[in-house]
């Protein structure tokens, strides 16, 4: 099996491209906002935000960064993401920047 083929349809591959590109774009264009959020989160251990579609809560669970995104629509998909916590503060900020961007970029459905 070719590694990235098989499960996704052509339409889903396009969505994959759009979502991951959007995440990449957010990591650059929103970097300053995400850095401030990351510092606030590291200091307090908690951070909440929302997008048009989700309420998003960041916390620390089982020694991991946790992001719980709950859909505002009762029938829509929700998601949660867990990332290991790096040792250095700089790396923690980088990890959180990606976590913030992924949570705002949406899901590949």
């Amino acid at each position: 099996m070719k590694s990235d083929e098989g499960l996704l349809t052509a339409e889903q591959k396009q969505r994959e491209l759009d979502v991951i590109y959007e995440c990449f774009r957010l990591m650059q264009s929103e970097r300053s906002r995400y850095e401030k959020q990351a510092i606030a989160f590291i200091d307090s251990g908690h951070f909440s935000t929302e997008t048009n579609s989700y309420w998003i809560n960041f916390s620390i669970k089982n020694n991991q960064f946790a992001c719980i995104a709950t859909s505002k629509l009762p029938d829509a998909d929700s998601h949660s993401t867990f990332a290991p916590i790096p040792e250095s503060r700089d790396k923690q900020i980088e990890e959180l920047i990606e976590l913030f961007a992924q949570s705002e970029a949406g899901l590949i459905l």
């Binding site: 990235d4 994959e16 979502v19 998909d77 290991p84 992924q102 899901l107």
Partner: protein, 155 residues
């Protein structure tokens, strides 16, 4: 001659032990699981790499059932191998509320992690799921990617 007969008898007995159902009409088949959880190999999306020049390691998983299911959650973990132990890189769970009809897939195609550099690293995926089927919670066991592939992707 006696030795040969003893050897033949021994072989016969061992074959009977290996296949206890042989010669019997009663062959019990394990009940077929109502759901199938598929996971692919950890990979760099060629689509992303070629069209946008972005490198990200990604693992996809998909669940399909031959019975109605609801409240399906699928978790995908991306792991990288280490010298003394393996490390979890990223973990994502998708939750689909409501009912899913037999034959319809529920997917987790959103588990990915950007590559910080091009350091060759070996990755694999792990997937597991949970769904409400026929009035009770059913859990799919952990499924691993069939291969561990070194990728030019440091995370």
């Amino acid at each position: 001659m006696k030795l040969q007969k003893a050897l033949a008898l021994l072989i016969l007995i061992s074959q009977l032990n290996i296949n206890p159902a042989s010669g019997s009409e009663i062959i019990k088949k394990a009940p077929e699981a109502p759901c199938r959880l598929q996971i692919n190999i950890a990979h760099l999306s060629t689509n992303l790499k070629e069209r946008l020049g972005i490198r990200a390691v990604k693992v996809d998983a998909s669940s399909i059932c031959n019975v109605p299911q609801s409240d399906v959650s699928i978790t995908v973990e991306i792991w990288k191998t280490g010298k003394f132990q393996d490390y979890q890189v990223w973990k994502k769970t998708t939750f689909s509320p409501g009912a899913t009809q037999p034959g319809n897939r529920v997917n987790n195609f959103s588990t990915y992690k950007y590559c910080k550099n091009k350091v060759k690293t070996s990755y694999y995926g792990v997937a597991y799921s949970k769904a409400f089927i026929a009035g009770k919670w059913q859990y799919a066991r952990h499924v691993l990617s069939v291969a561990i592939i070194p990728l030019k992707c440091g995370t």
